[in-house]
Each structure stands twice: as structure tokens, then as C-alpha cells.
Amino acid sequence: MDKIVVENLKYKYPLTDKLVLNDISFKIEKGQFIGIIGQNGAGKSTLCQAITGLVPLFFKGAYGGRVLVDGIEVAKSNISDISLKVGMVFQNPFTQVTGSKLTVYEEVAFGLENIGLNREEMKNRIDEALNLLGIYRFKDRNPFDLSGGQMQRLAIAGIIAMQPDVIILDEPTSQLDPQGSEEVFKAVWDLKKRGITIIMVEHKMEKIAEYSDKVLLMHDGKVIDFDTPEKIFSRDDLMQYGVIEPAYTRICKAFDIKDSGLYPVTLDRACEMVVKYNEHN
């Protein structure tokens, strides 16, 4: 069964005139890694918030169409029920620290206390989440004393502990230094390997190409394309949507190195094809 179904989704913020989401439809299967790309203002964040139900519950505005998670209509459910199925990580690690907890360990407990989990189960889940994100050794630190990358991993740990099947990450590394970004990408990849469905908005196209099963290309509130990274990055009109393909793809495009009409999008695949290309010429 499809994990997430978006049907003819339309949405307009209370203060904007045009549709920020303009008739969007797509389906995501369980366990897939979906990359969302598009230039600033394309509506990526709004779409993410619509999948969790923050839009329209949090922002009101005009809303049409449906978002279904496990067949349940998000806009008609309670957000705290949806949060058990779909977790979300935002750009700024700092705003995701609740600010009401004094230690990393307690910080992860925040959501679990809210859903009324018993203490034993709570501790098990916190230990597991902190270990998974590699921040167990900071468990007694104040959350505000972590580095950006550590703080963002803490935010993910707080979400993981709720055991959602789907995690949405909206530009989780845009405010981090390269090292912090790597830490987060590695953590996200570990989650994918555990069978969690991942939706990630990201501007680092190399990462999108490497990780994604499918890529959703958005522009001006519309879905332009939803396909494999090879198909998406082989398009010749990407510039028009403010997207630049991964460097390997760009080089292969320049030399017209392709295989059945598709350019490579990862380093390994590009090397392979360059070697083959050399042998032929």
C-alpha cells in the first residue's frame, strides 16, 4: 500500500494571492527515500508542512485536495496523532530545542512525555535514539551547548524516539558547516536503512542524487516532474527551475556521456561510464 498519497492538493496562505501549492498529486511507497528540489519559494516547505498537517491546521488559509498517510486524511486528524506517524525536522536546529529541558536526555523525552509513554519504554527509546544518532555521550549536556550538527541530530533523535514511519527533513543541513552536514546526512542514511520512509528537501544535489529513490521537482507551486534521480537530472531544462545538476552529471552532459539517454548522477556511476566511453573512443 502507498504510505503517502497526495491528491490534487491546493493551498494558499491567508495573506498571499496566488496558490502556493497548485494542484499537486503524487504517491510515496513505504521505505522510499524521496528528495524534493526546486528554487526558493517553489513551495517545498509548504508541501512538507501539508504532509504533517501543520498546513492547514497551523496556518489556516484556503485548502483543497487531500493528503493521506496510511489512508488517513491528515487535514481531518489531530496533529498529535499524525506526529506518531510522520515526524518533521526543520532548518534551524536552534528552534527545535524545546528550551524547557536541561539535558539532552530529557530533551528527547519531551515528545514521549506528551504522548504519555511509561517510564521504562521512554528510557529504552531515548537510549536507542541517542545511540542511533551518535550523541549518547552528550546525554547530560545542556541542549544549547551542542554544536549545530549535534543539535540537529538531537532534533532528529527527538523525532525518532516517537517512532514515526515517515520522517520529513526540510533543508536540515542548510545552517550547518560541512562537518555538521555530513553528520546529519549519515544519520539520515542510517534511518533509511532501518526502513523509515524519508522525505528530504535539500539543495545539495550530489546528496539528493546519491540517496533518493525518486526526486520531486517543484516550481511555482507545481510538480514539474517526479521520477528517478537519473531521469530528473538528465532533463535539459533544469536551469529554468533554478536547479543545477550534480557536478558529475554536468561534466558528463558536457561530453555527452550517457547510457540509454540518461546521464549518470553519482560519482561511481560517472566513473564507470567515463571508463566505458574511453574504451569506445
Binding site: S80, T98, M122
Partner: protein, 258 residues
């Protein structure tokens, strides 16, 4: 990490007592002083508070708190000593200025009461983490939302002031004068408002969303990671407080019927 808190980490039995009991202690102290308005009673309360502060090993930290109100206390003594309407007996004089016994006694009572209340509060704030106090209150029925606001304010305000510092540095590096003459500081303040306000508005909205995603509005009954460490002492303290209040009422009634 800076936090708005006067908490002093010590190993004492007072630190172990439930926060709610320390709140009740403040309440009991105030009640007793209202019911029994004698200076002896106030002194007795003060001695008890000071002994408890000593036991908690935080007595040194009380002085700054009392110092804080020192000027007000001194002015009460001077004004009452000079001008209380009941003033009759001269206690002493400095040159031509006469200090009267009645006013001095009256102000002594006020001063001891203020110090009493300060000491009782100090016992709470010096030996209790604010977050523990708030969590204790939430367990006893305070709305978790109010609890959240109270505890997050303590941490997020120091964070916001450091954001302000960062923005100020950024603007200084672009050549804005933020120091020196008052007019410079005022001029520097306005370009600061924009980024700081925008920053905190956006941050607040994002934080609110992040909280919702973590089931902040869940209708389930909340549970707590930390166990309550309610001891026998904690439950007996509540009876002791009630007994103290009842005793003082009886004492007061006895005086009246005489």
C-alpha cells in the same frame, strides 16, 4: 550555558525536599506572621529560616539577596523612626534629629518581616532548580502549556540576548557605531530591532511547529521521565505546616479572649 536561575548545587537534605513543600513553607511563614503580628514571633520565624539556610549550606548566598533590598529597608527605618504618627518616646538623637522608639519598633517589625519573606524565598530559589519546581507544579495540575512557557523562558531569554549580541557584532563589523555617546547607542538600537524581532518571530513560529510535531497538544495524559522522590519527610512536612498555622491561630484566639 547561562540560565536565569539562582540555584546552588549542594548536597543537603533541604535540596532533597519536594519543591512544593518549599512553596508551602513560604506560604506558612507569611500566614503565621499575619496571624501573630508580634516581633517575637517574627524573630522566631527568622531564626528557623536562617537555620534551614545554614543546613542547606547556602547562607552566604542569602546576603546578596538581602543586600538588594537594603536601601529600601534603611529608608523604612529612617522614615518610621522620624515620622511615625505614634512617635512619643525619643530613643536617641543625632544632632537635632530625633529618632522615636515607637517608630523604630514598628519599622523593626516590618524589616524583620521583609527579611523573613526574603529568606523563605531564598530557601526555595537557592535549593530548587526552577525546572524541578515547575515540573512538580505540572504534576499537581498546573497546565503543561503554562509550565512549558515558564521553563522555556528561563532558558530562551539568555539565548535571545546572545542572538542580540551576535547581530550587534555583525552590524558593528559593517561599520555601525554601537558604543560611546548615548546618541550613537540610540542610533544603533533601531537597525537592531528589525533583525532581532524578525528573527525571534520566525524562530517562535518554527519552535511552535516543532513542538506540535512532538505532540505538545496531545490529549493523552502526560507522563514524566523523572520519578518523584517523595519521602516520609515530605508528607510529614505538610502536617507540620498545617499544625504551625493552627497553633498560631489558637495563640491569637487565646490573646483575644483574654
Amino acid at each position: 550555558m547561562k540560565s536565569l536561575s539562582l540555584y546552588q548545587e549542594r548536597d543537603s537534605i533541604i535540596h532533597e525536599i519536594e519543591p512544593i513543600n518549599k512553596l508551602l513553607y513560604i506560604l506558612t511563614t507569611i500566614l503565621i506572621m499575619i496571624i501573630v503580628p508580634s516581633i517575637k514571633c517574627a524573630v522566631l520565624c527568622m531564626i528557623i529560616s536562617l537555620m534551614l539556610l545554614l543546613k542547606a549550606n547556602v547562607i552566604k548566598k542569602v546576603l546578596p539577596i538581602i543586600n538588594f533590598s537594603f536601601i529600601i529597608l534603611i529608608s523604612i527605618i529612617i522614615i518610621q523612626g522620624l515620622f511615625n504618627i505614634n512617635n512619643k518616646t525619643v530613643l536617641f538623637n543625632i544632632g537635632k534629629i530625633k529618632f522615636y522608639k515607637e517608630g523604630m519598633m514598628y519599622s523593626a517589625l516590618i524589616v524583620i518581616r521583609v527579611i523573613n519573606i526574603l529568606c523563605a524565598f531564598a530557601l526555595l530559589v537557592l535549593t530548587t532548580k526552577p525546572s524541578d519546581l515547575i515540573e512538580d507544579l505540572v504534576r499537581r495540575g498546573l497546565s503543561p502549556k503554562i509550565g512549558y512557557v515558564l521553563s522555556s523562558v528561563l532558558q530562551i531569554i539568555p539565548q535571545m540576548t546572545s542572538t542580540m549580541g551576535t547581530i550587534m557584532d555583525a552590524q558593528r563589523s559593517r561599520g555601525l557605531e554601537t558604543e560611546g555617546k548615548l546618541i550613537n547607542r540610540i542610533k544603533a538600537f533601531f537597525p537592531l530591532i528589525g533583525p532581532v524581532v524578525m528573527n525571534s518571530l520566525i524562530a517562535t513560529r518554527e519552535r511552535a511547529m516543532a513542538l506540535e510535531i512532538r505532540a505538545f497538544s496531545s490529549k493523552n495524559k502526560k507522563t514524566f521521565l523523572n520519578e518523584t522522590k517523595s519521602t516520609k519527610l515530605d508528607s510529614s512536612l505538610k502536617y507540620i505546616f498545617i499544625a504551625a498555622v493552627i497553633l498560631s491561630i489558637i495563640w491569637r484566639a487565646a490573646i483575644w479572649t483574654k
